[in-house]
Symmetry: none
Subunit: 401 residues, 2 copies
């Protein structure tokens, strides 16, 4: 039996409440001048207080050296093995624009591109058309009719769009039409298994029709597709862990990921303050509250060390609202590291703290990479976060007599 | 190949001696007033001395957040994956009363209960009859004859008893007859696989006869059965690790568990002192000596912080007897934590020390949760204890040339 099933079999309903605060990409690297990370630079009296009374460690989303995207990063936090449950690129693209996917939908990421008179790709991004142009072209593509299958086209950003095929018997086992290089023609969509042959044929009919529709729209006179995927069937957190979870996330992708694991997703503002207010408002109805902060990651991706520090401080300032609720478990961590000096997600382990009246406090007195790496939890896999949180909220029974 | 087979293939006989001292449930949580755990509160000069010269860490019986019962807790300590080797409730019940199980026996836990004139259960514990009454009724039930199968009935405590079916071709794949609620009739025993159909029929005949026997014994006028199980076939520690193990345990369940893994189980008194004396007495004949102390767990389960501290101190005071023998390896740990403040087994990792002339000492200078969590072994799975002990006693050869 796998780990998730073991945990699931031991899960029981209890009144214990768990608050999971995720600062996206919170882990960092030292600033070249100060030799302090973003977290070490930030003034975080409240997080330090929680660290002092709690148990700390370094969470690893995928194991040594591996850098997660947002999908696997969050699946791990929710207790799903990111290697066993795979979210395809097309699906992530759909989640990222809050597209209302239905069971059986096949989603693919599309790019507008430019082809020459021989049909060879000359620009993979169609001269980087604006989102406005993209939106207009998507409207035109939406008019394409296919027999028995709906082809839904939604703009994403710039030259990027989303194609969703909706119908019965569709299969996502399809190779990309995007050759990922210029000077060659877009490929036909190939079925990678027999079950996907009909779907490949449909995709190719759509592509041929799209070519006609776009013929007069140079430089966006063709499209390429990649990352065909179907909504993965994930057991819900409610089924698995007997919790009643809610997600407080401002960004569509994280709202979508939360929905994928069966969380209720509530409206919340974009600011840290509004998000924490939303948590307080919904506290009574739920026993698992997930709050996702995007700012830390965005600042990290932008290489803006200072803005990342400020985002962390903003979260720290809001923490007393959560602490005053006295949940049985407060977890603060990230889904991965996004060091500002790297301007990208990274493989570095993520600082983690768990505060609970039933935890066995270690000697860590501040919430930083260096301090947490000396915590009693050591370096541990992110999928352990859920069983740890459930245990401290008394939501797991004893195994064996 | 699984881990156990890898280790087994490398095991060799050596004169090295291993002493494994298990303080049941030794791990604790801070006392709300002193903020010190039971172990931190106890004066343990001898254990501290061993920690100082040894290598420490925190052992995890089942991994993050999972709480083990006594069965899985001990299997892990003996090097058996507690998820791969499962001891059913009926078997544990039998071990707990030192019942001499034979290969092929099917054991189930029984409860005397009360049924009304319609056959519906009105009290699942038969008004909590005394052990004396239970013993008398078990004698009556023992007279039930079944064709070709012996039905052995032994009292446990109060309304609880043990049923053992002995014969050829019996199979434990049976559902409980205990509906675990009142207002309904006891269930027929259902076979969960074809191989168990004959056994289910036998169990149901026995239940019908038991009902006649008990008809006049209101409130104990019926029984329900659960946790049908067969003695698991475990490879012995002798076969696996080329050791000659002995168990010094006062409580039946631990004696039974030790027997399950092929240990010789010797008589010992109930006091810590007598147990240590027994160890010294048998030291020459064995190269693996397991000493089990129950007091720490009992005090923890009772929520008696002070008594748990005393039990730890008693063990510490006896340690010089073991240290004077200069075994190649002394391991001191627990099978799980039983914090007095929780009055129950818990998921918290268990302090661990290994002392050996061949160990690489770390900086830990006392035997406590906080100190051990800074030990060089970090947080590690309990099934690693056996290979660590074998290695330090030079009982494992090199893998590969």
């Amino acid at each position: 039996m796998d780990r998730m099933s073991q945990i699931s079999q031991l899960a029981v309903t209890s009144p214990g409440k768990i608050v999971l605060i995720v600062m996206d990409g919170v882990g960092g690297l030292p600033h070249p001048e100060t030799c302090k990370t973003e977290l070490k630079t930030a003034k975080t009296p409240n997080l330090d207080k929680l660290a002092k009374g709690g148990i700390c460690g370094m969470s690893e989303p995928l194991g040594a050296g591996l850098t997660p995207g947002s999908g696997p990063g969050h699946l791990g936090l929710f207790g799903y093995d990111p290697f066993a449950f795979v979210i395809g690129r097309g699906i992530l693209e759909a989640l990222g624009i809050d597209f209302p996917l239905e069971k059986g939908d096949i989603a693919a990421r599309g790019n507008f591109c430019t082809i020459d008179e021989k049909g060879l790709i000359t620009d993979r991004r169609a001269g980087r058309i604006s989102t406005e142009v993209c939106t207009k072209l998507c409207e035109e593509l939406s008019r394409i009719n296919l027999q028995g299958v709906k082809a839904l086209v939604s703009p994403v950003e710039g030259h990027r769009f989303l194609l969703v095929l909706r119908g019965t018997g569709l299969h996502p086992d399809l190779a990309d039409s995007d050759p990922q290089q210029v000077g060659v023609a877009p490929k036909e969509v190939q079925a990678l298994s027999r079950e996907a042959e009909a779907t490949a044929a449909i995709a190719n009919i759509w592509l041929a029709k799209a070519r006609s529709v776009l013929a007069s729209h140079h430089p966006a006179n063709m499209v390429v597709l990649r990352g065909f995927a179907r909504l993965p069937q994930l057991p819900s957190m409610g089924e698995l862990y007997k919790v009643n979870p809610v997600a407080i996330a401002a960004y569509p992708m994280y709202r979508g990921l939360a929905r994928l694991v069966g969380m209720k997703v509530v409206d919340c503002g974009r600011s840290v303050e509004e998000q924490f207010d939303t948590l307080v408002k919904h506290y009574a109805e739920h026993d698992f509250l997930f709050l996702h902060i995007k700012k830390t990651d965005t600042a990290g991706e932008d290489g803006d060390f200072k803005r990342k520090v400020q985002a962390i401080e903003e979260v720290d300032a809001a923490m007393p609202q959560v602490m005053d609720l006295k949940p049985d478990v407060i977890v603060v961590t990230g889904d991965h590291s996004t060091p500002a000096v790297m301007k990208a997600h990274s493989w570095h382990p993520v600082p983690f703290l768990l505060h609970s009246p039933l935890c066995r406090p270690d000697e860590v007195t501040e919430f930083s990479e260096r301090a947490c790496s000396k915590g009693a939890l050591g370096r541990f896999p992110a999928v352990d976060i859920i069983p740890l949180a459930l245990a401290h909220a008394q939501k797991l029974t004893k195994y064996g007599a």
